[in-house]
Symmetry: C2
Amino acid sequence: MRTLKVALLGCGGVGSEVYRLLGRQASDLAARIGTPLEVAGVAVRRPARPRAVEIPPGLLTSDAMALATRPDVDIVVEVIGGIEPARSLLLAAAKSGKSVVSANKALLAEDGATLHQAARDNGIDMYYEAAVGGAIPLLRPLRESLAGDAVRRVLGIVNGTTNYILDQMDTSGVGFADALEEAQALGYAEPDPTADIEGFDAAAKGAILASLAFHTQVTAADVHREGITGVTPADIASARTLGHVVKLLAICERSDRGVSVRVYPAMIPRSHPLAGVREAYNAVFVEAESAGRLMFYGAGAGGVPTASAVLGDVVAVARNRLAGTRGPDATTYADLPVLPMGQALTRYHVALDVADKPGVLARVAEVFARQEVSIRAVRQEGRGDDAQLVIVTHSAPDAALARCVADLGAMDAVRAVASVMRVEGEGEE
Amino acid sequence: MRTLKVALLGCGGVGSEVYRLLGRQASDLAARIGTPLEVAGVAVRRPARPRAVEIPPGLLTSDAMALATRPDVDIVVEVIGGIEPARSLLLAAAKSGKSVVSANKALLAEDGATLHQAARDNGIDMYYEAAVGGAIPLLRPLRESLAGDAVRRVLGIVNGTTNYILDQMDTSGVGFADALEEAQALGYAEPDPTADIEGFDAAAKGAILASLAFHTQVTAADVHREGITGVTPADIASARTLGHVVKLLAICERSDRGVSVRVYPAMIPRSHPLAGVREAYNAVFVEAESAGRLMFYGAGAGGVPTASAVLGDVVAVARNRLAGTRGPDATTYADLPVLPMGQALTRYHVALDVADKPGVLARVAEVFARQEVSIRAVRQEGRGDDAQLVIVTHSAPDAALARCVADLGAMDAVRAVASVMRVEGEGEE
């Protein structure tokens, strides 16, 4: 029986768990694949450095490229992250005929087309289930289970750090800065939290989800992105009054005109299945024409859950390799246009500090009417100098809504635009 | 380009939707598979009968066996249901080298081993994602995404009819009979609801889930089964007092001693992700060693959602056929013993109508102690003749708990055992 040899590139939080599980689960993996796996080598920057998992020194190497292209290697697992050297390593591995498993969302979102093309050209598998939603099976269901359906919309909580922060703001009433500090203390946020709190991480995942859902190449650069640093306790309180909760969402939508992919904090109804996703958990809600509404929920990050997804892919590519075949491609035949944010249909929740005088509502309503935005509900809170006007719109092109907000800000009767946030998941459309 | 020919066996609620979608989605399906699909024929009992979907008369036949084995057919889709003639048709199709897609939970749960063996012997695919959870991707995630992990437990709400009934009982306070009648009026329950309310449907699905999760052949006959006909408003109220809700669960558990597969109504905490699954929706909660807790949620039945799952499988087997290969098998290498119900570790909630007299609690506690069952909480409600003693146990072998209940029923101080229900999903173990 032929052993399949696995090269592990990277041995951090995910890589060390992959290594550990390849050992601990060896007999189960062999039974499921039909042949044993063997670790051919582990590429790390500093082989001599002490690490969490014990690796025989003979397996460690600092020459990732040599390992990724070594003739006896069958499967290359990349858990380094980032664009380079990961891209060069994966392309070289593909060219050498290795099957490839990666957890690299940034790379897949930036240059998935090149990687997929390399996989096709060389007849190998390139799997990356771990890139989105940690252990939650998402990419395989989208690519395979829903292959006979038409996905209309994907709404995802795909970043655990920001969900933890927003959940803390909602449940404890703390502000953003305090919630971030707490998340950092607990290890849910990095010392430099930019990628998470500015939505870069969610945008990369949104691009990957949209590409698979709509059979269209979408890159991170196509994704409209807003982070959560501007979310205030007032926004959270406004959402609560509406019976809503604020979540950072990756939204992938298909309409007759094309696809829209966007990441921003939005209010969703507390009755929505995503509203109950607490702490650092992830969940992705999918609406498909025939399947209806589906949700996938679980741990979206962490070395151990992510390693589970990596190993699921290792088993899949190993089975394919043994059968002399490759798994289904991520097709991009639909090649739909990606719409600019201004053309996306959204709904706004706007809170205005106003002078409590007759005629204010009429003038505010006039602003919306001028942009042909239909108002769904208006509510005045407080009186006199503390008066606040809260408006929720029906859906309209985002650009028209943004113009309304700009025009409102310039009105004499409006002292301040206290809160602006989009509303999603109401199933109005 | 070679067209792949599909034979459709059965044209009821699911079959007619499959036929309709094969037409409506034809160009998308062709792009995703790499070649067009063509309906070779549709086998029905009465070809002349008027039907919801328009099918050219030349495609209709009453000879399902001839269609399933016709030389030009590539893929056989079976949506007839039941054991025979479905089994004979699928075995003949496999023997003729057709790839097979089925939505038949009863058949897969009764005789999956024979079907899988026939698939292996003839080098064809036998896929059946639609058999459990309608459109929810469940079997593919268990078989493929979690192939590198060790599943510990599956808790599933896999029957929409009973979930609708229990949800109505919980939210409207109606009794079982009224809730069933309403479910029937709305089309959520069949005129003969036995398969649903007695748990046969859930048991079949539990057997399929356990087989995949534990790499062990489990049949419907191995599943301990209790339906919901005995669930009373008092049980629902007791659950509410405890902060719980009653759900019919399919439970698949793995321990050092083997696997336990069982279906019964149980109380679960309202904070559990499954507690929020309302109406006729389904959801399956999976606990795996590395992945942690995952949940899959969606429409568990209905012609259109089920057709989505069938078509996903059609695309998968078509791609494999085109590539000259077959997908991963449902392995049964682990071959774990299936434990009898008495050995399953469960927790009980017991409500006793008692005489409110000194010493009653001591005697009740003595009954549990004799069976070595540890009590987690005791609460007395009411006084005098209306006194009720509510006991929640820690986990213990089910047989010991059942003996406690029998002994309590025989006690002089116990006027009646008002409610007995298992408690699940507390994550105590």
